[in-house]
């Protein structure tokens, strides 16, 4: 059996690990950079999820992605949940840990969705306090993911990118750039997705997410995009991804496909496509270096 790798995650495509694909992955050991898990799905005490994850982890690097910590919530973090995350991180030694700029718990109720928050000085202070607490408890840097949202708040006093920049400055966390979320938000809130990507603090991006979205209609008939992770990545999102990569350089990129999970071959093909975009970025950098370099033809 291969030695478990504990180095950094490679700047390649990875996919979300799904129970439907455990056997495909272990039988064929496909050439893929890494896998990501939703932490909460592995918080049972034992059973097949841990047995398969252990086997997958012996063969591939892992990224741990939390969906339930409610970092954007106004109340204190759930200490028990933080302890569960720490135990999972200790057991599987993931190369990355990420969570969302969102909230999902209020009082004792867990709402099982990533809900939006206003961007104000008050929420900034709360979120930064939570991130400090997470990084302290886990003993590592975390990545914070930009959300997809459907409503905005009258109270918001700064842009999302400004908010994220300030979080990074105060906490030292990194960022997870979800390109599909940018595209969905831009359509829903009427801003320029390319400008958002161009203004994003690319030097702090440790991971990129790509996922599919659904198209719905708003009350007035205008497009309302839903971040559903239930299909292929849309073509304009691929284009936005290439634009983001040109700024970040080769970056670990996850294909998220959590609903209507396809056959392994379909998911793997999406990952290969992301790998191809990463390779294109490297080559275009090399070509432009060539053009501007000091080599002289003889």
């Amino acid at each position: 059996m291969a030695q478990r790798q504990t180095g950094p995650i490679p700047p390649r495509a990875g996919v979300g690990l799904k129970p439907q694909h455990y056997r495909d992955i272990l039988d064929a050991e496909p050439d893929i950079g890494w896998f990501e898990i939703h932490a909460e799905n592995y918080m049972g005490e034992g059973g097949p999820p841990h047995a398969y994850l252990t086997a997958v982890r012996e063969r591939y690097p892992l990224s741990l992605h939390g969906v339930g910590l409610s970092i954007g919530g106004s109340g204190p973090l759930d200490k028990d949940h933080l302890a569960r995350l720490k135990a999972l991180a200790d057991r599987y030694e993931p190369a990355l840990f990420s969570e969302h700029l969102a909230w999902s718990s209020h009082d004792t109720v867990y709402l099982n969705d990533l809900l939006p928050l206003p961007y104000t000085e008050a929420t900034l202070a709360t979120v930064c306090g939570h991130i400090d607490e997470v990084q302290e408890a886990l003993g590592r840097q975390m990545l914070l993911e930009n959300p997809s949202t459907y409503v905005a708040f009258a109270a918001t006093s700064m842009s999302e990118v400004e908010f994220l920049r300030e979080i990074v400055r105060r906490t030292g966390c990194g960022l997870l750039l979800d390109v599909n979320n940018v595209f969905v938000q831009a359509a829903n809130h009427g801003f320029d997705a390319a400008a958002y990507v161009d203004g994003f603090p690319a030097e702090h991006v440790g991971e990129i997410h790509l996922g599919g979205h659904a198209e719905d209609a708003d009350d007035d008939g205008s497009a309302l995009l839903i971040d559903d992770h239930g299909r292929e990545v849309a073509d304009p999102v691929w284009a936005l991804y290439a634009r983001a990569l040109a700024r970040t350089g080769p970056t670990p990129t996850l294909i998220e496909w959590d609903n209507d999970v396809p056959a392994w071959a379909t998911l793997f093909a999406e990952a290969r496509r992301a790998d191809a975009v990463i390779a294109d970025t490297v080559w275009s950098d090399a070509l432009s270096a060539d053009q501007h370099g000091s080599c002289v033809a003889v």
Partner: protein, 256 residues
């Protein structure tokens, strides 16, 4: 302008209650209240919880059909939303809810099927443990009727006055239309996961009382006595052997 915690409380209340007004401090680019957009959150919350229950209770869903199941699951989620971000734990009270859900009354065995499915789910995710082999058990127990047994951490017993295992098996099968022979008597299920696969076995008469007594810490003799109160001539040896081959025993201790 409300503070962050009031805003969050309003938002959470309106997400959970479809009849509540959309919180006032929300804005969108076009004029008007963002009802449709807020509806995305309302839908996400309930649809994701209903999907989680449908995945956890597939046979229960099949017995009543998708539309009925989703309406029932929604009613449950409205009554008892999750209280932990570990959604694996969600649904423990679903069977009891079904038993008290009047529209499910015409399907009286539905709650017991849901109990069996919850036991399966709980066994799937419970802690792993190595079953005790027969020789080790024989050596440790000997003739000691005062011995207590440590049962497998995945073990569950589901008792039913309906033939719940037969119903569960028949409903779980897809595309097989051979005539079903359903026993008239109730069935008690032993659910255990000795290795990776969850196993569901039918317990003999008295078996459920025996296992439940052992689980609560009774010694072999006491457990057999409790079983004998349910069925005359309870066979201790046969029941013990059944537990061993099921991988249901992980340790032996003598009563102090």
């Amino acid at each position: 302008m409300p503070g962050p915690s009031e805003l969050e409380a309003d938002f959470a209340r309106a997400v959970l209650d479809a009849k509540a007004d959309v919180p006032a401090p929300l804005v969108r680019e076009a004029p008007g209240v963002p009802a449709r957009r807020f509806g995305v959150y309302r839908n996400n919350v309930y649809a994701s919880l209903i999907d989680a229950l449908a995945a956890r209770f597939p046979v229960t869903a099949r017995l009543v059909g998708d539309a009925f199941f989703r309406a029932m699951a929604r009613a449950y989620a409205e009554t008892a939303p999750p209280n932990s971000p570990v959604l694996l734990r969600y649904g423990m009270g679903f069977a009891d809810f079904i038993a008290s859900f009047p529209p499910a009354g015409p399907v009286p065995y539905l709650a017991d099927v849901a109990r069996l499915e919850w036991a399966w789910h709980a066994a799937y995710h419970a802690a792993d443990a190595a079953p005790l082999p027969l020789e080790a058990l024989a050596e440790a127990v000997g003739d000691a009727a005062s011995a207590t047994l440590t049962l497998h951490p995945t073990l569950h017993v589901v008792r039913s006055v309906y033939p719940v295992i037969t119903i569960w098996h028949l409903a779980a099968r897809e595309g097989e239309d051979e005539p079903a022979r359903i026993p008239a008597d109730g069935e008690d299920a032993l659910v255990v996961r000795p290795k990776l696969d969850v196993e569901v076995r039918r317990l003999p008469a008295g078996g459920a009382a025996f296992v439940l007594a052992l689980k609560s810490g009774a010694c072999l003799e006491q457990a057999a006595e409790q079983a004998a109160q349910e069925v005359a001539g309870f066979d201790l040896e046969a029941n013990l052997a059944g537990l061993v081959v099921s991988g249901a025993i992980v340790g032996v201790g003598a009563e102090p």
